[in-house]
Amino acid sequence: MMRLFVSLLLSLCVQNIWAMTESMPKIDIGKGGQCVKDPQWMRENHMHLLKHQRDEAVRKGIRDEKISLKNCIECHASTKDDSVIARADSFCVACHRYEAVKIDCFECHSGIRKSAWLQQRNAK
């Protein structure tokens, strides 16, 4: 019984030891900068901010440009491909993949910087 327990515990650690070779996720922060709160606060609370803001915007029509998803993307989309989801190191993908927290925002929302999207549309 004890042996089983110990071997289970060990097998859980193997994965962590393996992962030790990896460092923190590499994130393309796009234009970067800070306009809402400091990075650590954002890491802990961005999901609550988004959840609250989406109800305010959609259901009440209270649109706060600074904390809108579009505005996040405007800064944080990669300067290379204007996207927050296109590559493994894109702003949203990098951390979410690392933490294995699946997000479905971008099934509906565009992950492209609006200014770039408008350019693309007008070019068509």
Binding site: H48, G61, I62, R63, E99, C108, H109
Partner: protein, 238 residues
């Protein structure tokens, strides 16, 4: 334990901790956020008055404009989304023919809102009936309930959405009265695009607005008025 493992653990711990006490972080955020709009008010009721006499059969400008504005494919197969469509109607007894655009009627008593299990289908304070895609589970009950066949279901994965108009697979959608434009002080794309100015958009609650004056003076009807849904879209000349 290594440095990085500690980092990861604290990341997870603080995230979990934050989630556990996340009752009203938004209240704090409200005070820090600046540059936000007032929000929809029930003092306003957005509506449209469509003059069918000005609507030409064969003209699809309103449909094309809506498709372009909202990122719709423009396809007309049975599974393609159509937020607005032109209907050709012919009075069976008299033979009179006319053409008109049909879209979500933004009812005051919307059946779609009554039946939605998740409150995804809702009426905003200013009268616009919308689908909150954050809550929509894609049950399509609202599509069964709508008397005007206003709603479409997204049957396949979408990409390249308009950043102002989020749309996704598995949810239901319909005409939003271009709410993203209204909130910027503009009007719906269809009204702007009509070459004959057949679609008049405005605030029905403002007695001095162009639409309110016109609705008071010319004869107009609501489609399926017998259902007593009090739609915000009215038609002249039916």
């Amino acid at each position: 334990m290594s440095d990085f493992n500690l980092q990861r653990r604290s990341f997870l711990k603080t995230s979990l901790g934050a989630a556990a006490v996340a009752i009203a972080p938004g209240m704090l955020l409200f005070s820090t956020a600046q540059g936000k709009s007032e929000g929809a008010s029930s003092k306003v009721r957005w509506g449209m008055l469509i003059d069918t006499a000005q609507c030409k059969p064969g003209c699809n400008d309103c449909v094309t404009a809506c498709n372009k504005e909202n990122g719709l494919s423009g396809g007309t197969s049975a599974t393609d989304s159509q937020w607005i469509r032109k209907i050709e109607i012919k009075d069976i007894s008299s033979g009179r023919e006319l053409s008109l655009p049909m879209m979500c009627q933004h009812c005051e008593n919307p059946p779609c809102v009554d039946v939605c299990p998740t409150t995804a289908s809702f009426k905003r304070d200013d009268g616009i009936v919308l689908v909150d895609k954050h809550r929509c589970i894609g049950c399509r009950y609202c599509m069964m309930a709508c008397p005007y066949k206003a709603r479409s279901f997204v049957h396949e994965p979408l990409s390249d959405q308009n950043p102002d108009v989020p749309r996704g697979k598995g949810t239901v959608e319909s005409c939003t009265l271009c709410v993203h434009r209204i909130d910027q002080g503009k009007g719906p794309a269809c009204a702007e695009a009509c070459p004959n100015k057949a679609i008049l958009f405005g605030n029905l609650n403002d007695p001095q607005s162009e639409i309110a004056i016109k609705v008071r003076s010319v004869a107009s009807v609501q489609v399926r008025a017998d259902l007593r849904l009090n739609p915000g879209v009215r038609y002249q000349g039916i």
